[in-house]
Subunit: 370 residues, 2 copies
DNA sequence: CCCATAAATGACACCGGTTTCCTAATGGGG
DNA sequence: CCCCATTAGGAAACCGGTGTCATTTATGGG
């Protein structure tokens, strides 16, 4: 180490470690490193540009040549280097997922949907959990995008509703899609989920069952989804002649504990509601616990409805009537939208896209007693 | 488009879209594309190699020169291109996470731990959910590694226990770390979690409470963790003079439904167990439902213990005594191990690493009645 | 039979970093 | 005062692909 070389010897180590020996063109050929486009070109007796054409499906290649080259690629197991491709294309073929949503199932479902779309287009997904309350939040996000030069980013709520974060992405020139309950941005940058529909269905369901004394546990007002669910629920009840009195509404924090607190308030009030709609399943679980603690039988004495259709909805007993958001579709749509824009390199794709939530009736909702 | 150019015009589009104007060295300087190492070199009046030296913390740079260059980097917001670096280094600075575990919370926790380690080392994480039953399972995994030339892969159970998958990774020359309840591989490739400890603690807890008629719901025998939990539980009970009779053991599938089925069998048997240990929380939730259905009061008539400390453990009522696996630490350890090996480019780091599960006592476990 | 035209392919520079190898300046010892 | 070791920095090749443009080879019409 006379010069720059760092203490640690940097022995090059390829992608395929094993030594390959392949019979190509009646010649045995050996290589101790992953094959490159040059190897393919040499074996096929063509220039690397022609190999490049085959890889990129250029129509200007003789059918015979294409077959030969593909055969060689197959035989020696050549895979184009993503780094080199990325460098030349100015692309990384990487999408990012930024999330701070505490609902793990939701995140995993989104990931799955995103990856379904990615796979078809040859993209991969890089994840970035974050914390809006952290002082490094914006800087971390910026580094996240820059460090691997992401082609696009998908932002999950509630982070998706943070205008500063979006500004950072825009400044970086990074394409993004935000998931939210309302359209906060140009259509091209949004995939919205309709929470109004689910909430309205719940209102109709409760009305149809005959409930009149209905309690509502709202989500934190800074969340768009909470606002949407509340508004739609209240409006639909009103359409059915039911006025939700202010004292029958409590605002929770989308957490189990806040569900307990709100439920305690609602259930010790007179007249006691015969049904409670909690804005998410976590809080609905809190209502379950509170009801059981107070000796209130579910569903006989109290109908409960949640929102999200998270795993606990079916684990609780009786199983919880709730609203299902097709999270996987949401992820898929977002990724597709992003990929189209990246691939076409246009800012088109301005059509609005979204998914609709639907109610799932289970055992926790029945007509009121008497 | 006379020649190769694809129908879609491929207008180059950089990482930073906005046009920058920065005053450097008393000269105003404008650029409409992300700055490169060449820009930095030009502005600093040095060669790009010197800039490279600064970026890579080479000790052979004059302190003054270094300061100037760092200043310029700062001012124009230069970020080295990961593709170019990767191409030259033969590295991607990308780690992969392969999982088929249905427990979303577990996955999200692992991700978080992995990312904590990645952030410190400048790596990012690419995720790959998969399905061992799919015919494309192995091929998908292979493509996953090759497509972005991952530097290393972390495999989560149960996929981590698939020998074919590991063979694929090994053939690709891709470094990997497997997470499992037992060491299935060289120490360098494993991070193990000790499920025996947790299961033993549960056995001691139940024995100490005075339970003698104990039911056990095992996990699917093909899972190493299931085997470990079972063996440790049975052995520890025996140490306390309690023999787990065969008819008190049922094998479930780690699912809620199988928990119900097994619980039904156990609870309709005479003598009825006063305590049931389910090998995971999902199945424990199934036991709750069954007990409630059969009118058996928890914990008065039946003590229940689970394993995993998943979110439902605290959502159930009464809250579930269970065993916590520090999943985040698990992820962090795996990533650290991998990163050390990648960075040192040696196959060292052969020390065995792992985490230990511990029991968490909640409301569902009490002494037997009478 | 020749040339215009299109199809197929190659030469070469380039993407943005890194390595290798080389030169220039500096300072201390003989 | 000269020589050599040491430090600082540069030129050019390279990593593995891509774009541009020129060149070669068939084809068909006049």
């Amino acid at each position: 180490m006379t010069q720059d070389t760092q203490p640690k010897a940097r022995a090059r180590r390829g992608r395929a470690a094993g030594i390959q020996t392949v019979a190509v063109d009646a010649v045995t050929w050996t290589l101790d490193r992953p094959p490159t486009i040059n190897d393919v070109a040499r074996l096929a007796h063509v220039s690397k540009k022609t190999v490049s054409r085959v890889i990129n499906q250029s129509p200007f290649v003789n059918e015979e040549t294409r077959t030969i080259i593909n055969g060689i690629i197959e035989q020696i197991g050549y895979v184009p280097s993503p780094q080199a491709r990325g460098l030349a294309f100015q692309r990384s073929f990487l999408l990012g997922l930024v999330y701070d949503n505490p609902n793990a199932q939701f995140i995993v479902n989104i990931q799955e949907g995103v990856l379904a779309a990615c796979r078809l287009a040859g993209f991969e997904l890089v994840v970035h959990p974050c914390d809006q309350k952290s002082p490094h939040f914006l800087n971390d996000a910026k580094q996240f995008v820059q460090r691997q030069n992401l082609d696009g980013v998908i932002v999950v709520p509630p982070a998706s509703e943070n205008p500063q974060l979006v500004e950072v992405l825009r400044d970086l020139g990074c394409r993004y899609v935000r998931l939210s309950a309302v359209s906060l941005d140009e259509a091209a940058n949004m995939v919205v989920y309709n929470d109004r529909q689910g909430a309205a269905e719940v209102a109709e369901h409760l009305a149809a069952l005959g409930h009149r004394d209905i309690g509502f546990i709202a989500g934190p007002s800074r969340h768009r989804s909470a606002h949407e669910r509340r508004e739609s629920f209240v409006a639909t009840l009103k359409n059915h002649g039911i006025i939700l009195r202010p004292e029958m509404v409590e605002e929770g924090a989308y957490t189990f504990e806040s569900g307990e607190v709100c439920a305690t308030r609602l259930l010790t009030r007179e007249p006691r509601p015969t049904a409670i709609f909690a804005s998410n399943d976590e809080m609905a679980a809190g209502v379950y616990k509170t009801a059981q603690r107070l000796g209130i039988s579910i569903p006989r004495d109290l109908t409960i409805v949640g929102f999200d259709d998270s795993p606990i909805a079916t684990r609780l007993w009786p199983s919880l009537t709730t609203v299902r958001l097709p999270a996987k579709d949401l992820g898929r749509l977002a990724a597709e939208k992003l990929i189209i824009r990246i691939s076409s390199d246009e800012e088109e794709g301005h059509t609005a896209t979204g998914v609709v939530s639907r109610m799932v009736v289970r055992e926790s909702s029945v007509p009121p007693r008497g």
